[in-house]
């Protein structure tokens, strides 16, 4: 028995358990990414793993993956527990679900949970989430840019058993297979998710054996409380008041010129932050709606950018943040609105919250960023089997107070890895040749702190293919702030083999490409912050030297002498 005051043991044990929980979540996310088949995941852009407790509270989140899903696992688990009460769960059970109206995101983002038991009771859950390969819907690969309801977006999974006491539920896997254009990849991805929760299960079993379930639960409860306390302490450092921010979305791809607005009223008071989205546009008939869990992920992310980044990401962070998400709006749609393009609304919500909070903290002012520009290509291979894949590039980040926006980088929200895909692995797998991939000079919004540059890629087809595109902040490129200029608008276009050029809409499906046709995609640049004339001359000269700004534009925008 210990002969020393318990405080020392608690300090040590806390440090050790904290590390072990984070490592477990991390290890699970690495396993999921490595075992995945979907190209989207292999770069680590769209994956998440977490440990949750029996009350569906987020305990630990993987630390190198996207923050896009910070809230999804915790929002979905209550639905699982509602359908399958804890008392009826058995060791070895594994569940899957993807219903955006019960905490999910959209069809392709499948969430998998595994309960962890001690003394016959569920104590914790391991959860994993990735964008899996094709699960049906109107558009191959899950990019249903013009879906009008969830039915068009693919297979809908209520909480279902994938494994029952360790035995695979083959019927469910067959349903997923039967709904996928690329069944091997889809089932492979689902297995990768299971591999991830199994890792968490094993690690938690070890911890429970080591420390006992009661001690572990006591620790995690305290850990969550600690995060809450620190969040509130940090929020108290912000000047109290109500701040407003809004962001305009260029459209949903249906009614030309119809804009949507996300409005946030942010009230900081007594260690709590209240974010009310009243005034946000009604939900869209298209696919740009964000399910409530996605909006929550965006909001928690934006708030966390203004507090100590060292606060452990867990349920405690959510407790200090209240959100009012009016039903029937973009940020909390009602069924069966489609949600696949939610990144457009979530990032608009982030911009709105950041813009409001910048009034409380002017040194945290940032200009809006470009979004991920997505496209999918699908065709039939020489072997007669269908192929389909999602591809993407990133645009520029907006200028930040004191520092330029990075070039061609995923918006903040994606966190984790945000990388431009490499050409060689793509050409080795798909029937096209990339003719060019570059940064676009002059695409960053002019400003005292310049926006980051967008990119251009030119893809020449070697076989017939169907193209789908989904971009945003193109008709209305990322605006400048405080006198800064807007980023250059991106474009989706086709240079036909006959020499003609077609500019596509920012959201368009089923465009046929013939061999020799070239698909051109330019991503938008980030907005500029502050008046360009205030930009340091050395910075302008450095931009000219690095090719980010042409001399002509340096003369025009920044008054550089000719």
């Amino acid at each position: 028995m210990t002969s020393t005051p318990p405080i020392v043991d608690d300090v040590i044990t806390a440090e050790v358990i904290r590390g072990a929980l984070l490592v477990a979540a991390e290890e699970a996310s690495i396993v999921v990414v490595r075992a995945a088949h979907s190209t989207f995941i292999q770069e680590g852009a769209d994956a998440c793993a977490a440990i949750l407790d029996a009350d569906a509270q987020l305990v630990a989140l993987s630390t190198a993956t996207s923050l896009m899903h910070a809230a999804s696992l915790r929002c979905s688990l209550p639905a699982l527990i509602e359908d399958v009460p804890l008392a009826t769960m058995r060791p070895g059970d594994v569940f899957a679900m993807n219903d955006p109206y019960r905490g999910g995101i959209h069809a392709n983002d499948i969430l998998v949970f595994r309960p962890v038991f001690a003394h016959g009771r569920v104590r914790f859950f391991g959860g994993t989430l990735i964008h899996v390969a094709d699960v049906g819907g109107v558009s191959a690969g899950g990019l249903a840019a013009l879906a009008t309801d969830t039915f068009a977006e693919g297979l809908m999974l209520p909480p279902v058993h994938l494994f029952r006491e360790g035995e695979p539920v083959r019927e469910v896997l067959r349903i997923i297979e039967g709904n996928s254009r690329t069944p091997d990849k889809a089932v492979g991805d689902v297995h990768a998710l299971v591999a991830g929760v199994n890792v968490i299960g094993r690690r938690l079993d070890e911890l429970i054996e080591r420390y006992g379930a009661a001690a572990l639960t006591r620790f995690t409860d305290e850990w969550l409380d600690g995060s809450e306390r620190r969040m509130r302490d940090e929020l108290r450092l912000l000047p109290e008041g109500t701040y407003h921010g809004s962001f305009t979305i260029e459209g949903d791809g249906f009614v030309p010129g119809r804009r949507f607005v996300v409005h946030a009223a942010v009230t900081v008071r007594d260690g709590t932050i209240d974010i009310d989205f009243a005034g946000t546009s009604p939900q869209s008939g298209g696919a740009i709606n964000a399910s409530f869990s996605q909006t929550m992920s965006g909001v928690i992310y934006a708030v966390r950018c203004l507090v100590d980044p060292g606060i452990p990401m867990n349920e405690g962070c959510f407790r200090a943040v209240r959100m009012q998400l009016p039903p029937g709006t973009l940020v909390n749609p009602t069924p069966p609105a489609a949600c696949g393009g939610r990144v457009i609304t979530v990032t608009a919500a982030i911009e709105a919250v950041l813009s409001a909070l910048a009034q409380a903290r002017p040194d945290h002012r940032v200009a809006p960023s470009a979004l991920i520009h997505v496209y999918s290509l699908a065709g039939t291979g020489d072997d007669g089997r269908p192929w389909v894949s999602l591809f993407y590039d990133f645009g520029g980040i907006g200028g930040r107070h004191g520092v330029d926006g990075p070039d061609a980088t995923g918006c903040y929200f994606l966190g984790g890895r945000s990388v431009i895909p490499q050409i060689e692995p793509l050409e080795a797998q798909y029937p096209f040749v990339v003719r060019r991939s570059r940064l676009v000079p002059d695409s960053g919004g002019a400003g005292q702190w310049r926006g980051g540059l967008g990119t251009e890629i030119v893809v020449e087809m070697l076989a017939d293919a169907e193209l789908t595109v989904r971009g945003d902040r193109i008709e209305l490129p990322p605006p400048g702030v405080d006198g800064g200029g807007a980023g250059a608008a991106g474009v989706y276009a086709i240079e036909r083999v006959d020499g003609s050029t077609e500019v596509l809409a920012t959201k368009q499906v089923g465009v046929h490409l013939a061999p020799g046709d070239r698909f051109v995609m330019r991503t938008s640049g980030g907005g500029g912050l502050g008046p360009p004339e205030a930009r340091a001359r050395d910075a302008v000269l450095a931009d000219v030297a690095s090719g980010r700004v042409t001399r002509a534009r340096a003369v025009r925008d920044y008054g550089l002498e000719e």
Binding site: S3, T4, V199, C305, R400, E424
Partner: protein, 714 residues
């Protein structure tokens, strides 16, 4: 007749340059001189001169000088090189500038993050009209005019180095080679390197970055090594200069100058190699290498006698997993020891975070001001201060040339830890000791459990200034029952240098479905790779080599592979089938999921070793006299985790320099040695083997020291 062949190993560390002079008969001498950061060669020459004169060995009798250097890493991290010209396929000038950044952990919430700037200058980047396809066919031929034009433009840029990386060159390197030839003709003094000469693997970003970093460091490395060779020659040393590479082998100085990125983990590799040598002496094929110095602890693994390696290294990488997070630094495609590095060393500072939780490191008090007990102006509590108060170091004893002050250590721990937490100073010391152990345990976990390797049954080889003080408690946490501390533990990495053979790793991307792989075609591809590796290792004919072959295999459509051994030639159809089968098995073992999908080879790999004359430790006769001659006193020491809390336990002190082979005794004991003290807790037996290694066996471990993460005190 004395053997004229002496080997010199020189390992340049952050604070000290360690030198070992050894021969194949097991004689050896060690020395330590201060590192000279402005020009590390000064310290190297000083150390070599010193050790030779102290050992009375003539410079002419030195047949090899093996050098571990951090030069390449320093040049890249401190950006002291000059950007090379960069020659690339038309349309892809921005290849390295297109963001491939990754943010991890707390950085993800930083609105003001910046991305590392790659060492290329757009004005020194030259596009060439040519295009090779993924299958190696040529879409757009490279004309003689285009070659001449790029040669002219590069010549006009007058950079000291040129890096060439063309798209899909891994599948067909004709164009790259033609340009490299033309540039070498046109610019005989420039450092010219093509991506397929360095690492012909698919994924242009990593390949180009590796090539550019090679060109960035190349001229500096070449100058450094040429100068060092000359200075060694001036000393009268005729033997060749060789450099430790990143994966535990040695290469000639000329190869290191041409492929400097291969030396990026030179220092870390020397440590793991040393641990492998120790393992060989004590008959352990699988060991964990644990090197704890002043600022960091490095943990590596040796499997079946060879250092565990990875092929995705990040220079300047971030994150808490050994800095190997993809996208957090510059990726370099070289074979590197699988090293988990944590900011945990003797100088690591203890502090309280915003929650009031006690943390240790990663910041280090370093050599200046150093731990509080050094009395050099340090006031923050460090691990060394805690270790001193626990009784592991001798109060008033010497370390790093200074007298250790218990009062200063106590004051620092009281102010920084004990008072704010409301606990006794000795409890604070114990907590600091335990937390730094927990941090290092995370590193052990990375290279063992996270790789699917069960640490139980492995031997922990502990060295570095602080390693042998913490080793037994770390071993306990993982259910490891055997710890080995080599002779000269404080300079073990330098010993690793003189004990290594020459070797080289080569790779070639070949995407082949295993279902229709032709064994003859595979055999031919492997033969070609082996020939290339042989050419890199030696010019002289008749040299003997050991060749091992492996292949990266994956399910078609996956981006990650597992590396599997490939049998010696000739390959048969059965071998190909077996490769697919063992891949499926390994995949299931690794990920606990079984998939029924086509399998595919992605890369072929060849590892080739040239065995050379090297240091071989000599066994001495065991004596049965007992260790009484080495017993130098007693001291009260605290042993956490043994049921005695923070009470001091009367502990026997030994002087390691007086221990002889065959000595054995039981803990609790502390073995003092120059630069590296060994702590032998209760329930541990110590034994000195024929090579002078101190072997520690843990017995009757406390009832709850199960193989979990950490045994809490009970």
């Amino acid at each position: 007749v004395s053997d004229p062949r002496w080997f010199v190993g020189v390992d340049v560390g952050g604070t000290f340059t360690d030198v070992v002079l050894a021969n194949a008969d097991g004689d050896f001498h060690v020395d330590k001189v201060p590192t000279t950061p402005a020009d590390p060669r000064e310290g190297v020459i000083e150390g070599v001169r010193h050790v030779l004169s102290r050992a009375s060995v003539a410079p002419a009798d030195v047949s090899r000088v093996v050098h571990g250097t951090t030069l390449a890493t320093n040049v890249i991290l401190e950006q002291t090189g000059s950007p090379p010209a960069f020659v690339v396929t038309e349309g892809f000038a921005d290849l390295l500038r297109l963001g491939r950044e990754a943010r991890v952990e707390d950085d993800r919430y930083d609105l003001f993050f910046t991305t590392p700037t790659p060492p290329v200058d757009p004005q020194l980047t030259f596009e060439v009209p040519e295009r090779v396809m993924a299958d190696g066919s040529v879409l757009r031929a490279l004309s003689a005019e285009a070659i001449a034009e790029v040669a002219d433009r590069v010549a006009a840029a007058a950079t000291p180095a040129v890096a060439i990386c063309l798209l899909n060159a891994y599948a067909n390197s004709e164009h790259e080679r033609a340009i490299a030839r033309a540039l070498r003709d046109a610019l005989p003094d420039a450092f010219v390197v093509a991506s397929t000469e360095v690492w012909p693997e698919m994924r242009e970003y990593e390949r180009a970055m590796t090539t550019v970093l090679c060109a960035y460091v190349g001229p500096v490395m070449a100058g450094y090594l040429a100068g060092l060779e000359q200075q060694l020659a001036e000393l009268g040393i005729g033997g060749p200069l060789e450099i430790m590479d990143s994966s535990g082998g040695v290469m000639s100085a000329s190869l290191a100058a041409r492929r400097p990125v291969r030396t990026l983990e030179s220092g870390g590799a020397a440590g793991v190699t040393a641990a492998g040598l120790v393992g060989r002496l004590i008959g352990a094929r699988d060991v964990i290498s644990f090197d704890m110095g002043g600022t960091t602890a490095k943990v590596g693994i040796v499997r079946d006698g060879r250092p565990g390696v990875i092929s995705d290294f990040q220079v300047g990488g971030k994150g808490s997993f050994g800095g190997t997070r993809a996208g957090t630094g510059f990726p370099v495609k070289i074979t590197t020891v699988d090293l988990a590095e944590v900011g945990a060393g003797g100088g690591s500072v203890a502090w309280l975070d915003a929650d009031g939780a006690l943390r240790v490191g990663p910041r280090s008090a370093g050599a200046a001001p150093g731990p509080a007990c050094y009395g050099r102006g340090g006031t923050e509590p460090t691990v060394t201060d805690a270790d001193l108060l626990l009784g592991y170091l001798e109060p008033g004893g010497l370390a790093g040339g200074v007298e250790l002050s218990t009062d200063a250590a106590r004051a620092a721990l009281a102010r920084g830890v004990a008072d704010p937490l409301g606990i006794a100073v000795i409890e604070a010391a114990r907590a600091v000791h335990d937390i730094v152990n927990a941090n290092m345990a995370a590193a052990i976990r990375v290279v063992t459990v996270q790789r699917g390797i069960d640490p139980r049954g492995l031997t922990l080889v502990a060295f570095g200034g602080a390693g042998p003080m913490h080793a037994v408690r770390l071993a306990e946490m993982f259910g490891i029952s055997s710890v080995a501390v080599p002779l000269a533990a404080g300079v073990a990495s330098a010993v690793g240098l003189v004990g290594a053979d020459l070797h080289v790793d080569v790779v070639q991307t070949r995407v082949i479905d295993l279902a229709d792989a032709d064994p003859l075609e595979l055999e031919a591809a492997f033969t070609e790779l082996a020939d290339q590796a042989r050419a890199e290792l030696a010019d002289e004919p008749g040299t003997a080599f050991q060749i091992t072959r492996s292949a990266d295999v994956r399910y078609r459509g996956q981006a990650y592979h597992l590396t599997l051994p490939v049998p010696d030639p000739p390959l048969t159809a059965d071998d190909v089938v077996a490769l697919a089968t063992s891949f499926r098995q390994r995949f299931e073992d690794t990920y606990r999921i079984a998939l029924d999908l086509p399998t595919q080879i992605h890369n072929l790999r060849v590892h080739i070793v040239r065995v050379v004359d090297k240091f071989a430790p000599r066994a001495r006769k065991l004596t049965l006299d007992g260790p009484s001659a080495a017993r130098v006193g007693e001291r009260g020491v605290v042993f956490p985790g043994t049921g005695t809390g923070t009470d001091t336990v009367v502990t026997t002190l030994y002087d390691r320099t007086r221990l002889v082979p065959g000595d054995r005794f039981a803990g609790p004991a502390v073995i003092a040695a120059p630069e590296s003290t060994i702590v032998v807790p209760p329930h541990t037996r110590a034994e000195v083997d024929a090579y002078g290694t101190v072997l520690l066996s843990l017995y009757d471990p406390s009832s709850d020291a199960s193989p979990g993460i950490v045994a809490p005190d009970s």
